[in-house]
């Protein structure tokens, strides 16, 4: 990067803190995409969770209670998606489109766009100093990332996800219950979204009910840039981590290079298209070679 200021510790710390919630939310979405589903309702889930923890903090809830509450609320909303997708068998994009609208509008109806203000002192940064708080948020994000890497690569649950994502029928025949895997993935993604909401909310002194608009697109974009295939069953969590960082660096990077910040969205879109296009081009040749090879064998 052409701007040395970008690498000052303070800047990196702020960037890391702002990115941690997106990272956590992207982890949930990654699991869902690995199972060949999609979730576009997490932005709304995020907003609803944020408002809930704001209200709970007003009533004097401690940090751990807030985390538990947010993950619980998120988990319930995830379960609604999970029941409709895995149980009823509706396409996930339609289900989450519907729940997205429903949660967002219910929230608007309920709160009428009002901020949750007058939060106790102990709410921001969990009551710690800003520095400690920032480190706490980043540590939480990294911990979730670490757990996710472990789960996807070294546990049976992770392999179930990949199996269901590659071929649900084959997974069923192999003794996995795709229904339960899909359902639990939706629930955990909801819980992670709740956690992300906590990590985001503690950065501010009040809770904006419009928060999280477009988060679903950010998270999906990060997963895709990180090499997760929307056809399911392919992709790595660490790749998603790289995707989140790459997309998050665009905005601050522009500022430090003295370029107009309005280009952020355009550049992010360009990155997404480039990433998937290179995947298509690079994957194209081996695929064609393999097909030719198989053709020959058949003869």
């Amino acid at each position: 990067m052409a701007a040395p200021d970008f690498f000052k510790p303070r800047q990196l710390l702020a960037l890391g803190t702002a990115t941690a919630p997106v990272l956590v939310a992207a982890m949930g979405v990654t699991m869902i995409i690995l199972c060949r589903q999609i979730d576009i309702s997490i932005g709304s889930q995020f907003a609803l969770c944020s408002v809930f923890i704001g209200l709970a903090a007003q009533k004097g809830g401690g940090p751990l209670e807030l985390v538990a509450l947010a993950m619980g609320v998120g988990g319930v909303m995830g379960a609604v998606n999970g029941v409709l997708v895995a149980g009823v068998g509706l396409p996930s994009i339609v289900v989450t489109l519907a729940t997205m609208a429903t949660w967002r509008e219910s929230l608007r109806w309920w709160r009428e766009g009002e901020f949750v203000r007058n939060l106790p002192e102990t709410f921001q940064w969990f009551g710690a100093s800003q520095m400690t708080g920032q480190w706490l948020v980043i540590t939480a994000g990294i911990m979730v990332l670490g757990c996710m890497v472990m789960i996807t690569q070294f546990t049976a649950g992770g392999r179930f996800m990949y199996a269901v994502g590659s071929d649900p029928e084959a997974a069923r025949l192999a003794g996995i219950r795709p229904m339960w895997v899909t359902f639990s993935v939706f629930v955990s993604a909801g819980a992670l979204t709740g956690l992300a909401a906590v990590l985001n909310a503690v950065r501010f002194t009040d809770v904006d009910p419009k928060t999280g608009t477009g988060l679903e697109m950010q998270a999906i974009a990060a997963a895709v840039v990180g090499g997760v295939s929307v056809a399911g069953g392919r992709g790595r969590v660490l790749g998603v981590f790289a995707g989140v960082l790459l997309l998050a660096c665009v905005g601050p990077g522009l500022v430090f290079l003295n370029l107009p910040a309005q280009w952020e969205r355009a550049i992010q879109g360009g990155i997404i298209l480039l990433a998937v296009a290179s995947d298509g081009l690079g994957g194209g040749r081996p695929r064609r070679l393999r097909e030719q090879h198989e053709e020959k064998k058949r003869r």
Binding site: I38, S92, A98, E105, A221, A266, I272, V276
Partner: protein
């Protein structure tokens, strides 16, 4: 996302026809109109009828063009952003480049077609999933719109001759944008339901591989639907600008999801292969009447959003249940015959 392709419900006839999405929607629409005529002030008037139509033109254009895209098993998330970009470009060309509104409109439609071609090329040439391609261009187009206006620029003071397209009345009653919408909707209906191309689109949605083995020009057909979707998004942008009298970078935010909602509510399967343009129009009408009726009945507008979500899930689950039921009955009949 890829289960349950259509078991031909259309050819069966009989009572089962009544459980198709279109008839459920028609019933819902009648119900809505009945309820809102009682509760809403000025709901049951000619002016309001045309007002609802006027308000739903932009969305309707997007939804109608989205229908063939979804029929092929694809999706286009970029139309809302493209609407914003086209609105900005139209303003820029007219005000800063000094083109006449007519020339600027022409160039804008060209831009829309090109943007659609970009989506189509990425989907067909590189064989990328449409969801991802259009997610990328969703950011890209909106980003360009923000970059061109630097986030603050706002185009207003368009000439009255142009604003007539969005605000004027033909013969004093018919909103000026309505004929344009009707023309587009009819052409799409003919394309989807009365041409070979339309049938090919369905086949592509039902079984892409089968379509290729049957010798269909798959790439060019898919390219076509995205190009059309882009062009119609540009047209929708013109109507939008003429209607509101201003063009800002955030024009059309979230429209893509509303358009998809109308299409899916209208009985088009999100997995492709099954669906109709008239279904989309019905879905659109249900959503538009609900929004208008709630406003006129002094009910909170948010209720509309909630009901949309619930409606979407109910209609789809209902359809799934009916399919399940009809399969059971068919099996029983077969057992009795044997």
């Amino acid at each position: 996302m890829n289960e349950n392709h259509n078991a031909s419900t259309t050819s069966q006839g009989g009572w089962r026809v009544w459980f198709r999405a279109e008839s459920v929607l028609l019933l819902l629409l009648v119900l809505e109109i009945g309820v809102f005529s009682k509760t809403g002030t000025n709901f049951w008037t000619r002016e309001n009828f045309f007002e609802v139509l006027r308000l739903s033109v932009e969305m309707g254009l997007l939804a109608v063009a989205m229908t063939p895209v979804i029929l092929t098993g694809g999706i286009d998330l970029s139309v809302g952003s493209l609407l914003g970009l086209c609105a900005i470009c139209f303003g820029k060309l007219w005000r800063d480049a000094g083109l006449s509104p007519f020339a600027a409109a022409f160039a804008t439609i060209g831009l829309g077609l090109m943007a659609g071609a970009l989506n189509g090329a990425l989907v067909t040439r590189l064989r990328l999933p449409p969801l991802i391609v259009t997610l990328g261009s969703f950011s890209l187009f909106r980003g360009f719109a923000e970059a061109i206006t630097k986030g603050v620029d706002n185009f207003t003071n368009f000439p009255p001759s142009f604003l007539f397209l969005g605000q004027g009345y033909i013969f004093g009653v018919i909103p000026a944008q309505l004929p344009c919408f009707v023309a587009v909707a009819v052409s799409f209906w003919v394309l989807v339901h009365r041409t070979v191309i339309g049938r090919e689109l369905r086949v592509l949605g039902t079984s892409p591989e089968g379509a290729v083995y049957a010798g269909l020009p798959a790439s060019s057909r898919i390219q076509l639907v995205y190009v059309l979707s882009g062009g119609v998004a540009a047209l929708s942008a013109l109507v939008y600008v003429a209607h509101l009298g201003q063009a800002k970078a955030d024009a059309g935010t979230g429209y893509e999801l509303l358009a998809i909602t109308a299409v899916v509510l209208g009985g088009t399967s999100i997995c492709g292969g099954k669906g109709s343009v008239h279904g989309t129009l019905l879905g659109l009408a249900v959503l538009a009447v609900m929004k208008n009726g709630l406003t006129l009945s002094d009910l909170p507008g948010e209720l509309g959003g909630i009901l949309t979500g619930v409606l979407l899930l109910t209609v789809l689950s209902g359809e799934l249940f009916m399919r399940f039921l009809s399969r059971r009955i068919r099996l029983r009949n077969r057992a009795r015959l044997a």
